[in-house]
Symmetry: C2
Amino acid sequence: MRSNTLSRKEQICVKAAQLFKEKGYSAVTMRDLAAAVGIKAASLYNHITSKQQILSEIILDIAQQFTDGIETIATQETDAISKLKAVVSQHITLTADNPYGMAALNNDWMHLEGKLEYYLKLRSAYEKQFKTIVLEGQELGELKDVNSEILLFSILTTLRNLYLWIPKKADLEKDKLIEELSEILLQGIVK
Amino acid sequence: MRSNTLSRKEQICVKAAQLFKEKGYSAVTMRDLAAAVGIKAASLYNHITSKQQILSEIILDIAQQFTDGIETIATQETDAISKLKAVVSQHITLTADNPYGMAALNNDWMHLEGKLEYYLKLRSAYEKQFKTIVLEGQELGELKDVNSEILLFSILTTLRNLYLWIPKKADLEKDKLIEELSEILLQGIVK
DNA sequence: GTCTATAGCCGGATAGAC
DNA sequence: GTCTATCCGGCTATAGAC
């Protein structure tokens, strides 16, 4: 843990992520961002080199955390259900930490220029690990033999969009949410 | 069913929705759109009055269909589970019909200017009906007594993002998808 | 490290010929 | 109904004073 005073550059990136969530990368101008930080647009360039760089840092930082995290989960020696719960937990934790960055990750990745390929590589690696966990769970009979593509889509979509929901819950009890969301995703909702 | 030759205006709106899905409303220029249609930017204005109008038509058309559809479902006299299946079916049908428009509905609604309030009203109405179905299902003991906000978020998010997945399935068998997705959302995935 | 000023480009939209 | 030409405003980013 480092000091809780953010550098100017960090302030800028945090504000940028908030604005990107509201309007999307393309619709946020450097003047908007500067005003939100409380300086003039030209002054931003003492701290960052381009609008593009801000987006890259926001997205790649989070994407890396997800990919690293699922590698760790995948190599643990437990059942598929425990691994899926760990994935749910990771999504909730990272989203609660940085909901605005999650929005950029979900909605603005296509505006990455130089780093687009690298991002796509991280995303593929993530999806591959997730898929492996599910397929192993099905082979070992822990999970139902439903269409795995639909299953993967359904769960991953819910997890990827937690950023829309979590910030509205001011008094979020994280451990409770992990339990309840895992229950709904894994066990369904019909009595 | 009307003629399957689209008017120029319809061509423009269809292409626009495709481009909006790829890059978002703000990042698509009238020059991009014109090139995709095969004319020059100025010529677009013989068919539409503004970029804003294109967005409004794409989004409000679909939003209206969803709100009308769920009103019909909600007033039927069946159990909550049947109603939820009907909602799943509606989402799959409307998304398969117009996946690009669904993308705009999900991602670009905040760029509506004059029609933003009307859109928000439609969305609120939709969510209210959905919530009522779920709460009734819980009261009557058809659905588990899990946290209804998490339940609503989870299912609605999956349904709203079908546009990302459905177009990749060229040989989509709609009825099968309705059955399989309903099964996963309602009954869960654990054996 | 912030400012003012501005370069240089690209955006949506219009005018008017054909 | 499409075109060329263009207006005018806003965009990212830079230059250089303080």
